[in-house]
Subunit: 550 residues, 2 copies
């Protein structure tokens, strides 16, 4: 790293972050795995007691909440366990941007006292430690979203999400790393540096919510919150082997959260939960809906939690899925295909139906997105970087379209809606292919044409961003499979697709082979109809049980 | 009118429209009221039979539907009555842009046949004639939204709304007039000319959906459909003395409808029903929701009709209203205040509570709207007018802000959302002022600071557009009162509000006096919380009953 002013400021800020972490949580250098050890997933902080090991091993958030609410565990002891494992994770893969550890213990203690005195949790997330991407303002703490220009900015209020999480009883304790501009599928910036993947430290954890992905995969947090405008809660979930939900627009309150390109609405960013357990997603969505966020954030739709919609797919018996083997633009690497086949086999064995999904002109969809994401001609990132002198990182700001006028943006909106219509019609038309005569319940799709990418190579977000454009809710699930050089010996299948990024992707598999991606978890996503978070969570539960991940 | 090319084309098109109307529906000149007779409201076509007079006098759409569905009336005879009264209305105040009369009779006949054979209506609006603003494409008919440049454009498909209305059993038969660019509170354009107000032909029927307003007030249609981006279904309803609903965004499908500024989403235009009866609004909304419009238009929110939300205010006993006497920017003319007082008295007498509403910085709200509506720097209207050479009418295209860049539009969106937040908080805070301790159920507000404006003087849409910015659903209701020179002898009350359009408005009352607005109906609007169409319709029913308009 250069010693330019921006770099000095970034380094200083990272040190200030470290200084806030109580010393007793740092693990001695000698007790850390060697720097060249690729996989660190599954390692536990040597500081954890036996009971604390049990705590961070409770992967079911509902079960953890029950233990806290029934006073089998205190919030303080749960927090202590997660803090220890978080700092250990930080030492291994660098996930943190800010910590609130002393305050978190105060808050946990207060919650324990209330529960002891009243016997009643203050809310559905009472006592649960929760980690947050570095976009969610917490009063009194610095938040800079990884921009050197924003170093030193202390938040004067909670964002609405944090307000509601506190109201629901959650205990915030750390915030996590993200890429410059929050518009990239990896995590690196000039303040907090690079985050790597616990399953293989030569790989990216994905982005933009990659700090969360890595932390959750290491069991450093039971429940995390990220944002997603093109795949940012899904790519890290898939690359790190955990669960996440991308809700539809305006379900979870974004008010007063920091972001790049604030005010951009053609394809809005959304907030979604990430967790090493499926139940973490459900608990988060139920808890937020129960706070009636539409009474706080005027943009949030008034949609109480719909238990019927959640339960219906679970009671339906036979569900109809459509498998999108690839997007018709970029063929997927062999481990993805292996996981897809395993999921189809498991679903079929469980009595469900899986038809093939024909992707609907994803070239058009992603071409629209290319313009949407850079409709300001790169002004947002250019201004932010110019303010400190930090350079724009590769993959960002390049190939920006011209800065559109409002009228040009209106034409783009029309083109986007025409695309949405073709997809809606295609989904409706799937009724002709199912045994029930009803449209498919969900589409299963890769999250990327590769598993966790080699660092700097995650330059294809097409498999996630298409669902942002369509505003379909998605649940990323771990298949339980990992890249194995003994098994993943094949080549990229099918015929090369000319005029696309397909060749680059196939070449990378040739170049790195399974060894290059060794131990990377293989995640997929299940995609529902617009606005149906409860339904897709219900479907994901059925699917997760069929593949024995729940 | 000049004989410029655009004017010649417009006149020719208007004649072509007339030529499509079967001759037997035109009333002889000698049987029309004199041209200088101001009020024509209540007049009936001399061609109507006694039974047809009974039909157009059924002001309750639910009752009319019941008579058709129970085969007490055929769709054909209902249509015949409305067609006669429509053409008579056209002769008096010029409301039409296009007619589909022969096809309408074919469709009505087919529906009658189905009902006779099966005993079952095809849908909830089976057999009901329905009139449409000139934005809704109907396959095979010319649609030009009053732009000379679009003359000769024949629609190659129905817009989604028309598809769903047909599916629900409605019978389209006419389309109605609107202003150039659809962005004005009056109705005039170079194709179909000026529409006037049946209650006083020196006044405007309001706009932009003024053709509907005038037609419905004359009982030329039982149910009409308009659009509203700044008051366009509400101003005509108030000015003409009928009912209308402005739903929240994305409830009623806009797909493939024509509009100016298509793709503009900062404050989207919405579609809403207009009717001389309250029940027309409910029947329309129930019928559209029942068609599951979200399966056809990807932008529509998946919200089935919520009968519980509709019934709750009706069962609540005591409701809490807040009266916004004026918007703090422009004082209202004396008849408006008189109507407000009458409504408060009636509600109070019926056991409801009415507190005062303090408008929340409407100057900021309408300043944001000034930029939103002209964010393209006037390009949309300039391009359309340039294409034919028609001039831009006064009040349109003037004072356009610069053509914004996308980045500038993002900043405007942020300002808009901050404003929305202040209003949301104010609504929540009203709980401190009600006897129930809950926030008010609804706000009652003027629709304009005047009743139906003298032609060319409707230059203040602030009282309606503010609710578009906030996305609050509104029901316009007739108070049953009209301007009466014997009663409305007062002056504009309160103190002049400096630095605003207040003085112009007060001066107009001085200039015209009650005589200038004689017989204009006085309507008000009742405003609900975002996304709650059912609730505001339920509240409007309670209110309408209290003031004896239902």
């Amino acid at each position: 790293m250069s010693t330019a002013g921006f770099a000095v400021k970034g380094t200083k800020r990272a040190k200030a972050r470290d200084a806030l972490i109580p010393k007793q949580y740092w693990v001695a250098e000698k007790d850390l795995p060697p720097a060249d050890q690729k996989s660190v997933v599954g390692l536990l902080s040597p500081l954890l007691t036996k009971k604390e090991i049990e705590i961070v091993s409770i992967l079911d958030v509902t079960a953890l909440l029950e233990k806290i609410h029934s006073r089998q565990l205190t919030s303080v002891e749960v927090l202590e366990a997660y803090v220890k494992q978080t700092i250990f994770t930080q030492q291994l893969v660098r996930v943190l941007t800010e910590t609130m550890i002393p305050e978190a213990f105060e808050n946990a203690k207060a919650l324990d006292k209330i529960l002891a005195e009243t016997g009643k949790p203050v809310g559905p997330l009472h006592g649960l430690p929760i980690s947050l991407k570095d976009q969610f303002h917490i009063k009194g703490y610095e938040l800079n979203i990884g921009y050197v220009s924003r170093i030193g900015t202390v938040s004067d209020r909670h964002c609405t999400l944090v307000d509601l999480l506190v109201k629901a009883g959650a205990v915030y304790y750390v915030r996590t790393n993200l890429p410059q501009n929050i518009m990239r599928g990896e995590v690196d910036n000039f303040v907090y540096g690079l985050t790597t993947n616990p399953s293989n430290r030569d790989l990216t954890p994905g982005g933009s919510t990659g700090g969360e992905g890595a932390l959750l995969a290491m069991h450093g947090s039971p429940l995390g919150v990220g944002t997603d405008i093109g795949g940012s809660v899904r790519i890290p979930a898939a690359f790190c082997g955990i669960w996440s939900l991308r809700p539809s627009y305006h379900r979870v309150p974004y008010q007063w959260a920091a972001n790049s390109m604030l005010g951009q609405e053609a394809v809005p960013s959304v907030i979604g939960p990430m967790s090493s357990s499926y139940t973490g997603l459900v608990e988060f969505m139920k808890a937020i809906a129960a706070q009636e966020p539409w009474l706080y954030d005027p943009i949030v739709l008034e949609k109480p939690w719909n238990e019927t919609a959640f339960e219906t797919p679970q009671k339906k018996g036979k569900l109809s899925f459509a498998m999108m083997w690839d997007d018709g633009v970029t063929r997927v690497h062999p481990p993805i295909t292996r996981a897809e086949k395993a999921v189809v086999a498991a679903l079929t064995a469980a009595g469900h139906e899986v038809i093939d999904w024909s992707p609907v002109d994803h070239v058009e969809g992603t071409s629209i997105l290319d313009v949407v994401y850079k409709a300001d001609g790169g002004k947002d990132i250019a201004d932010e970087c110019a303010a400190s002198g930090e350079p724009i990182l590769p993959g960002l700001g390049e190939g920006a379209s011209k800065h559109l006028t409002v009228w040009e943006a209106w034409q783009l909106n029309k083109r986007r809606d025409a695309y949405r219509k073709t997809y809606l019609d295609a989904w409706n038309a799937s009724a002709a292919k199912t045994s029930s005569g009803r449209p498919v319940d969900a589409i299963i799709s890769p999250v990327a044409p590769f598993v966790a990418a080699v660092l700097t190579e995650n330059d294809n977000l097409d498999y996630t961003s298409i669902w942002n454009l369509l505003d379909y809710p998605c649940v990323v699930f771990p298949t339980g499979l990992r890249v194995d050089p003994k098994i993943d010996t094949g080549k990229v299948g099918g015929e090369p697709i000319p005029g696309t990024r397909d060749k680059t992707n196939a070449d990378r598999w040739e170049e790195h082979g399974a060894v290059g991606y060794e131990n990377a978890p293989i995640g997929l996503q299940v995609v529902g109809r617009r606005g149906r978070e409860e339904e897709i969570l219900g479907i994901a539960k059925v699917l997760g049980q069929a593949i024995k991940q729940i």
